[in-house]
Structures are given as structure tokens and as C-alpha cells.
């Protein structure tokens, strides 16, 4: 809005009175895009504590039972300006702790280590317990480097040797101690903040992961159909970064037929996972049992084309198994070639096809093969063929077909669980890509 001489004018095309040009107005974001407020730790200061030595006056608690020593320190501090020091003097640790407990506002504690009610390093620990955020400067009678180091270890910020010239050293020690404490608190606050953001992010990813797993077929929904059709389906699904760019699913065509698909987006992680939700929704919307697999892939390819970012696409395999005709019909959009296992022989299906999203006018071919009782199909993501072996070269299609043949020779069948065991023992784990493996087997004695 522009204000001109008290009158209010608007330059929005949405406002009445402006000759209209239809358009979209996207208001800019008003946040940095990352909020750490949900479930925030209330103990975390939102603004870091100021470095207090910058103040004009600092409150010092002097804990010293030797009146002469106390006097020297007080004189030394009285001479200081910028900052000035306001000194409160007590002669025992008990009094010091009581003062802190009363809520007195203090910037630093000057602590003698041989008090009537406490001596040695335990004095530092007790003071620290009473006032964890107030910097402590200990005062020792002699120049004992080891004691000083131990005191710093116990939580003091600095130390003073009483025999040194206090006028020269005490003001400096106090300022350094306060600065050091402020840095320490700042560091702790940052660490807690990072840890908390990490927890928030992990919780978000866990929630997204649960949503992604919810997209997968569930036994309670499909087991009655699979049982009627005499199909056993074995699946493995493991995103590499909590959530990922893979998915598989099944679609009931009714009658004697069931469709299965698997797809895989470029990349992995959150971006790929968001695309998974897109394509899953598109499949729900565009798939029909009346279409051939090639027709369905074409519709999905066209729909995805306008939605994906540059260089992004999905490979997809879609098949329909007809348990009466004993056939499998499929089309592929550049998916890794599935393994067909019939009569103990293993071979790859033709899976050529342009990936979804790369072509504005994609065309796919339908293929058909016998799929008799006892036959099995293994669909998988390229995490398997692209996995590096210990020697560094890739597992590849050669590795997969060898593994399948060996597994069949040993166990009489190619179960996904056995194949994954064999696969994981032959490649370098963990995988860097999302992994899906799906086995569909026609039971030898099919009901229909």
C-alpha cells in the first residue's frame, strides 16, 4: 500500500477499482524457513548471554578468611575503573553459599582455597554446585601450578597467587574469568541448541518415514486376494537416509489378475521422498485395470513430466500377473531389469523404456511371457546392481544373476530373504542408496 498525503491507495490487482490483469501474487516468506520452536527446550535462552565485562560495574563476592589478604584485594579492586568493582566480603564458604542462595546478583566469585569450613579443591566443587553459572577465580597462597591446573579442571575459570601484586593482577583475572565463563555458557547453549534442532529434525524424518512405510501394501489388506490367486509376495524396503525415493505397490485388477509396480526416483533423501508421494498419488489417480502396463506408464510419464525438477525422473516397472492365463504382462520405464525364474532357470526381462519425466511424449512397449505355477519374479532397485563390492567394482547384473543361480542351486528357490543375505555378504555395507527388493512367486498348487 502506498500512502499519499493521508489517502490510502492500493496497487493490488485484486483490489476493486483497478483494471484487472489476472495474476498470482506470492507473498514472500516472513521467516528464515527454519523454526526450532516446536517442543523447544524452555531452559534455552533465546538470546545468548551478553559478555558481562562490558558493563560499567561488576559485583564481586570475595570469600577470604584472612583479613589482611581480603583488605589487599579490596584495595586493589577499589582502584579499578571501567569496570568498577562492587565487592561483598564474606569469610566462609557457608556464608558465600547462603548469599548465592539468597539470590544476590553476582558477576564473579574470588575464592580462597583454605577457609575455616572448607579447604582444597572440594571448595571449588561446592561453590560450583551452588552457582554453576558464576565464574570463579581461586586465590592460592603459593604459586602452585599443579593445584591451579586442578582447580581449573574442577570448574574454576582462573586463579590468582596472593603473593603476586594484586593491584596488577586481580582486575585482569576477574575480567578474563567472566569472559571465559561467558564463552563456556555460549558454547554449551549452542551445543544444546544444535542437539535440540537435531532432535526436532530426527522427529520430523521419523514421522515422514512412518508415512512412507504407510504407503506400502499391508498383509491384512491384500493377503486374502493373494491367497485366492495363489501368489506369495516377499518384500524388502529400506531407505538409505530414513526416507527415500523408492516405492513398490500392488494394484488389484479384480478377477484373476493382480498388478505390481516398483519405482525409483533420482537421488535419495527428502527431495526424492516427496516425489514418491507425488507418483503414488498419480498412480492412485491414473491407473486403471483396463489399461495395459504400457498405457499406464505413458499416462504417468506425461503427468510427471511437468512436476519434476530438471534432471529428475523416475524409473518404473509395472506388471500384471494373470493367474488363469498363466501370464505376466509388463512394461518398463528404464527400471532395473527384473529377474524371471521359471523351471529353475534365471534370466532378465526386457526393461528398456524412457524413465518417467524425461520425455513429453513417452511411448512404452507391452511385453508378455508365460508365468506358470512355480514361476517367480524378482523386482529390485538399482541400489542392488550399483552396490560396490569390497574390491570396489560394482555388484552389477552379473553379480545378481550369479547370486540368484547359486541361491536356487542351494535352496531350490530364490527367496528374497536368502538373496538379500547373499547380497549383503558380497557388497560393502551400508548401502548409499534406497533399496527395494520384491519377490512374486506363483505357488505350485494355485487355487484358481
Amino acid at each position: 500500500m502506498k500512502r499519499t498525503g493521508g489517502a490510502v491507495q492500493t496497487d493490488s490487482a485484486l483490489s476493486p477499482g483497478t483494471p484487472g490483469i489476472g495474476r498470482l501474487i506470492r507473498l514472500p516468506s516472513r521467516t528464515a524457513g527454519w523454526l526450532d520452536s516446536p517442543g523447544a527446550d524452555p531452559g534455552l535462552p533465546s538470546v545468548l548471554p551478553p559478555l558481562r565485562p562490558n558493563r560499567d560495574s561488576l559485583a564481586v563476592l570475595l570469600v577470604e578468611d584472612e583479613p589482611g589478604d581480603a583488605r589487599l584485594v579490596q584495595i586493589a579492586l577499589m582502584g579499578c575503573r571501567q569496570p568498577a568493582f562492587a565487592v561483598t566480603h564474606v569469610s566462609s564458604l557457608t556464608e558465600a553459599i547462603a548469599l548465592v542462595a539468597s539470590g544476590a546478583s553476582l558477576d564473579v566469585v574470588l575464592l580462597d582455597l583454605s577457609l575455616p569450613d572448607s579447604t582444597g579443591l572440594g571448595t571449588v566443587a561446592r561453590m560450583k554446585d551452588a552457582a554453576p553459572r558464576i565464574p570463579i577465580v581461586i586465590m592460592t597462597g603459593m604459586d602452585d601450578q599443579r593445584l591451579a591446573a586442578a582447580a581449573l579442571e574442577a570448574g574454576a575459570q582462573d586463579y590468582l597467587v596472593k603473593s603476586d601484586d594484586p593491584e596488577r593482577t586481580v582486575g585482569r583475572a576477574i575480567r578474563y574469568a567472566i569472559t571465559r565463563m561467558a564463552s563456556q555458557i555460549e558454547r554449551e547453549t549452542l551445543l544444546r541448541r544444535i542437539a535440540q534442532q537435531q532432535r526436532t529434525l530426527m522427529a520430523e524424518i521419523d514421522a515422514a518415514r512412518a508415512m512412507q512405510f504407510d504407503l506400502l501394501p499391508r498383509p491384512e489388506r491384500i493377503d486374502s486376494r493373494l491367497s485366492a490367486l495363489g501368489l506369495e509376495v516377499e518384500s524388502y524396503f529400506e531407505p538409505s537416509l530414513g526416507i527415500g525415493g523408492d516405492l513398490w505397490g500392488c494394484l488389484d485388477c479384480g478377477g484373476n489378475r493382480m498388478s505390481f509396480y516398483s519405482f525409483d526416483f533420482t537421488g535419495h533423501g527428502i527431495g526424492a521422498a516427496l516425489n514418491v508421494f507425488r507418483l503414488h498419488a498419480l498412480i492412485s489417480d491414473r491407473w486403471s485395470p483396463k489399461q495395459t502396463p504400457a498405457e499406464s506408464l505413458r499416462l504417468l510419464g506425461i503427468a510427471l513430466r511437468g512436476l519434476l525438477g530438471r534432471g529428475h525422473f523416475a524409473t518404473m516397472f509395472l506388471c500384471t500377473i494373470d493367474c488363469v492365463r498363466g501370464e505376466i504382462e509388463w512394461a518398463s520405464a528404464g527400471a532395473p531389469a527384473p529377474l524371471l525364474i521359471t523351471d529353475g532357470a534365471v534370466r532378465f526381462l526386457d526393461a528398456q523404456g524412457v524413465p518417467l519425466g524425461l520425455s513429453a511424449d513417452p511411448h512404452y512397449r507391452d511385453h508378455c511371457e508365460p508365468f506358470p505355477p512355480g514361476a517367480a519374479l524378482m523386482i529390485y532397485s538399482d541400489a542392488i546392481t550399483d552396490a560396490p563390492k569390497e574390491q570396489g567394482d560394482l555388484f552389477g547384473e552379473a553379480g545378481l544373476i550369479t547370486l540368484a543361480e547359486e541361491t536356487i542351486a542351494r535352496t531350490g528357490r530364490a527367496s528374497i530373504a536368502d538373496l538379500i543375505d547373499g547380497f549383503q555378504s558380497r557388497v560393502r555395507m551400508p548401502l548409499e542408496d534406497d533399496m527395494t527388493a520384491l519377490g512374486i512367486r506363483r505357488l505350485a498348487e494355485s487355487p484358481p
Binding site: G334, Q352, G353, V354, D433
Partner: protein, 106 residues
Amino acid sequence: MEKRGIQYRLADDGDHLTVALEGRLDFAAERQFQELLADLVVSRKRRVTFDLSGLSHIDSVGLGLLYIAREDLGKVNIALALLRPRETVLRMLELTETTKIFAITR
């Protein structure tokens, strides 16, 4: 273990530039490849050829990068061709019918 990312060598032949890619064109090479591409776009060449004979592997991100390269170079009228892919890389290009989109010399 094989080194991450890609290396490349340029051979300049007048209005034709050959870029010999070596290593793996995959998600780990994305930034490096985009930087190379930005240089190629302003190279004022008429043709660019990616020599793939030194490329041991390409994944889906790498394939997407080739499509991005084709699009970006196409916008500035630079023709992109692919040369001598190894067996595993050729398999990926065939599977995804990239062989029908790009001019590939074997």
C-alpha cells in the same frame, strides 16, 4: 577404493570441444559436473563431445546430469554428442532409451 567424483580432460579442436570424463558420474559428482557445464555453456563452441570411455559407472543422478547438459547446451546452440561408453554405462543408456535421444558413437 575408487576415488569419488569425476575428473575430466579437455581437448580443444577449433569449434569442437571434447571432454574426456573419468571416474563415476553419480550423485557425488553433481556439483563438479554442474561447474563444468557452466563453463561449457559459455565456451562459444559449436559442438561438445563427452568422451565416456574413462567413465566406469553412471547412476540415475548422472543420467539426469547428461539430460541437463543436453538442455543447457541446446539453448546456446551447442550440439552434444556422447562417445565410446563402456559396457556398463552403455547398458544404462540403453535401458533408459537415452541412446534414442543422444547421438552416441560407440
